[in-house]
């Protein structure tokens, strides 16, 4: 028995060119007739070009072709099986058949879009012959229903409620984080500078690292991505590390259903993100920064990339920034459709060219983060708060919000309100006040889904709850990402809950048993309850036990919160209740 000589698939000329362009800095092997330079270290380093290479291949051919995989494998010295494994991890890489037309439409079916008729839109698109897929939240919740058009050999674009471009902003009083949004030209560094941009960086360089960290700590800034960790402590920890390489990462993989604040920042005020990251990098001693942006935000990616170019040309990035000893530059990494990559350690895996699987903590990113080096990961909203702290000073900053939750917060209000949109308000604003700010409820509100899919259902009885970390905590809920989805009279809460369960089932990375199987069993149980219209004690008991093991024994935050909304529905008696 001998092995047949198999013909291995071959990449097309265009595929080779596209991949080469994406991975041009990756030189794993330097070949000559008699000497080849290679080795595991070079392989490891170049692996970070895998995701861009796959994007290039997908764009060129409309799928991840076997020939393309073969070529990437030779170029980056990553095995075909591993490349396939990475490609199949992401929703935006097709591995079975190519996109046949110019675009593949990804139609959001998450809460705010589904109550605005996304299923009908999907049918319409399919009826018109447009290749379409159901998608998780696209961050266009204020312009629901939303569609992301993934182009084959043409640019991607996103459309909200039939319109592309940034969502129309609804202004609120006392805006600070959003003060430049819609007022400065996001494609012009000069425009940014003339509105006070880059003053904070000058201050930061002037006062030095430890003073910046002290200010950020004294201001009481906490992470706005959901976890709420004190930012000053994080920066301080990484600044104290003596490692040769450190990284500063902006986590702009904003994928929490109902959340779109980071998109608005990047689309409308990209220099603010870059400036604040530069301050962060300079402060903690990182020379390289990464912005990880979800692929469904093509305009944000474009604006950030263009802003980076301008900043580099103006020596606001690169060597000796503003004539100082500090050097810092930023690279953009585009996600490929995976909610889990918003988990900080999964995000590292994704940048490094691995499947976006989260890692066990400890070690924490501050000691072992990206590429194994000490790393700060911050949410864009968190970062632009730093500009505010440095420009207005700690006392003024702390004069807003509550003593425990100082400052302002961005709220993404969507669903059944008259004026859905992004609102900035001080911590402590009540839910009903926020609804009023957004033009008031369209109909009698059944509940608010606070904090996205990972958040909780709040019934009207609690709408006087102030939105602050401490008040949320005392109610046993979390503000999460600041998503506020208002569910009106027409909304079937059971369907919302089932969709949340389906979302987690789809987005679980599959690494640990509690989450991989738990999200599946949770979804199945809810479907059973809906089908049989029977939510007896035993079923609820099992749902609760499934929720417990996920929140207790999963590796990461996805599993920990995958049952939060469902459990809050049970708690509030919203599950299979009489109104269904």
């Amino acid at each position: 028995m001998t092995k047949p000589l198999t013909i291995s698939p071959v990449a097309t000329v265009a595929e080779v060119a596209a991949i080469d362009a994406a991975a041009k800095q990756a030189e794993v092997l330097i070949r000559s007739d008699r000497v080849v330079r290679g080795g595991l270290r070079r392989m490891q380093k170049s692996r970070a070009f895998l995701l861009p290479s796959l994007h290039a291949l997908q764009k060129e051919s409309g799928w991840i072709s076997p020939g393309g995989v073969r070529y990437i494998s030779e170029l980056l010295q990553v095995s075909d099986a591993e490349i396939y494994g990475v490609a199949t991890f992401y929703d935006l890489f097709q591995t079975e058949r190519p996109i046949s037309s110019d675009y593949l439409a990804h139609v959001c079916v998450d809460t705010s879009c589904s109550i605005r008729g996304s299923e009908m839109l999907l049918e319409d698109l399919e009826g018109s012959g447009q290749e379409s897929e159901r998608s998780a939240c696209l961050g266009l919740c204020a312009n629901a229903p939303a569609v992301f058009y993934q182009g084959k050999q043409c640019s991607d674009y996103a459309v909200g409620n039939g319109e592309s471009g940034p969502s129309i902003l609804t202004r609120s009083k006392g805006e600070q984080l959003l003060k430049r949004v819609g007022r400065v030209n996001p494609t012009s560094l000069d425009s940014y500078k003339s509105s006070g941009g880059y003053q904070a960086l000058s201050i930061a360089i002037q006062i030095g690292s430890s003073a910046v960290i002290d200010l950020v700590s004294e201001a009481g800034l906490t992470g706005r991505g959901g976890a709420g960790f004190p930012t000053g402590a994080k920066w301080g920890a990484v600044a104290a590390e003596s490692a040769e390489m450190k990284y500063f990462v902006a986590n702009a993989d904003e994928s929490e259903p109902g959340t779109f604040k980071d998109r608005v920042i990047m689309e409308s005020d990209p220099f603010a993100l870059i400036e604040s990251m530069t301050i962060g990098g300079v402060t903690v001693g990182a020379k390289v920064g990464w912005i990880y942006i979800r692929a469904e935000y093509p305009l944000a990616i474009q604006r950030v990339a263009a802003a980076l170019d301008q900043a580099r040309r103006a020596n606001l990035l690169g060597e000796n920034i503003l004539g100082s000893d500090h050097s810092f530059d930023i690279e953009v990494r585009k996600g490929a459709g995976a909610y889990i990559c918003g988990e900080e350690t999964a995000l590292f895996s994704s940048i490094e060219g691995y499947r976006g699987e989260p890692r066990s903590k400890p070690p924490y990113p501050t000691t072992r983060g990206l590429f194994g080096c000490p790393t700060v990961v911050n949410n864009p909203e968190t970062l632009i708060n730093v500009l505010q702290i440095l420009s207005i000073g700690v006392p003024k900053y702390r004069s807003q919000g509550t003593p425990e939750s100082p400052g302002t917060k961005l709220y993404c209000v969507s669903g059944d309100v008259h004026k859905p949109g992004l609102y900035e308000a001080e911590f402590g604003i009540q839910i009903d006040e926020l609804i009023n700010l957004a033009g008031g409820a369209v109909s009698a509100t059944k509940a608010v889904l606070l904090g996205g899919a990972a958040g909780s259902l709040i019934t009207p009885d609690y709408f006087d709850m102030p939105l602050s970390t401490e008040a949320a905590q005392s109610h046993g809920v979390s503000l999460g990402s600041g998503a506020v989805m208002v569910l009106g009279e027409q909304v079937n809460i059971m369907d919302v809950i089932i969709r949340v369960a389906e979302f987690f089932k789809n987005e679980s990375c599959g690494q640990c048993v509690p989450c991989r199987i738990g999200t599946m069993r949770q979804h199945e149980q809810l479907l059973q309850i809906k089908k049989t219209k029977d939510s007896d004690k035993k079923k609820i008991q099992l749902l609760t036990e499934i929720g417990n093991v996920m929140s207790d024994a999963s590796i990461c935050g996805l599993g920990h919160t995958a049952s939060t909304a469902i459990q809050s529905a049970i708690y509030n008696g919203l599950l299979g209740g009489s109104d269904e």
Binding site: E507, R521, S554
Partner: protein
């Protein structure tokens, strides 16, 4: 007095309420096992880095919001660890129920044996989605039965950078659809596989199985109770790999290598693992 240890490499922890002194570089799992406290695990293995995937080994650590995986978390001074608390047991029960409602565990006795202790009841799940696929038989050396695969990471880690560095298999897909796969699911003979069998050796559920074993099981003639294991040395090169020859009825039916032996740590190459067939042939020879 006794806890005022001068030994800087040792620390005290509380294990199920008992104060014990352990080496400080141990994981909770190792520290527990040294103190005769058993913690069940599926994905842990001595010569692979903890995959942290099965979560069966979770324990309660005071101060931690969630349960922690004992296989990878290191002990810290004064750590208060509960390995059998109701919360821990509840999680383990669910994990076992999840696996039992998903996979065919008929050839994973080490998992099944835990069911009674943890009160596993799979009947309370109504028509759970199971993994059910036809057995992949693509060559004469291995079979792959995905209905048995619990995604413990051992085979992928053994094929990858932790041992073999061949990377013929990797995880594909996501969530419940995650699978161990070759590129585009091509057959193993078409993949980069070099048939070292190290993936088969580490599989805890027989999802990966030697074809010899599979065939004997298929013929209802796999009789572990009638098998003997003899340790000897492979003849195919000078490295000196120890082989464990599993024999049944005076025929070799399977070859493994002792994990505790430093030369192989359980690893073999294709020749050592499968090159014994001629011994069975000469046995049939009447000379």
């Amino acid at each position: 007095m006794s806890d005022m240890s001068d030994d800087a490499t040792k620390i005290s922890i509380f294990l199920n309420g008992n104060k014990v002194t352990v080496q400080k570089d141990l994981t909770i799992l190792e520290a527990s096992s040294k103190n005769m406290v058993d913690i069940p695990t599926i994905c842990w293995s001595e010569h692979l880095e903890p995959a942290n995937a099965c979560r069966l080994c979770v324990v309660e650590v005071e101060g931690s919001k969630t349960l922690v995986p004992s296989c990878s978390r290191r002990v810290e001074s004064g750590m208060n660890i509960l390995t059998e608390s109701p919360r821990v047991r509840a999680s383990r029960r669910m994990i076992l129920e999840f696996l039992a409602t998903t996979n065919d565990l008929s050839q994973a006795p080490e998992i099944v044996t835990l069911f009674d202790d943890y009160g596993v009841d799979i009947d309370r799940y109504e028509r759970p989605t199971r993994i059910s696929e036809e057995v992949r038989i693509q060559d004469e050396l291995y079979i792959r039965d995905y209905s048995k695969c619990v995604l413990c990471y051992k085979c992928v880690d053994a094929c990858g950078e932790q041992a073999q560095n061949t990377f013929a298999i990797a995880f594909s897909g996501r969530g419940f659809d995650t699978q161990v796969s070759t590129e585009f699911d091509v057959g193993l003979p078409e993949s980069n596989c070099v048939y070292c069998g190290n993936c088969v050796a580490v599989c805890p559920t027989n999802a990966l199985q030697f074809k010899t074993e599979f065939d004997l099981r298929d013929a209802s003639n796999w009789r572990p109770e009638d098998q003997t294991v003899t340790t000897t040395v492979c003849s195919y090169c000078g490295v000196g790999c120890n082989l464990e020859l599993h024999t049944q009825g005076d025929q070799i039916v399977k070859v493994t290598s002792p994990t505790e032996h430093d030369v192989t740590n359980g690893n073999l190459c294709i020749k050592g693992r499968f090159g014994w067939e001629y011994v069975n042939l000469v046995m049939k020879d009447d000379r």
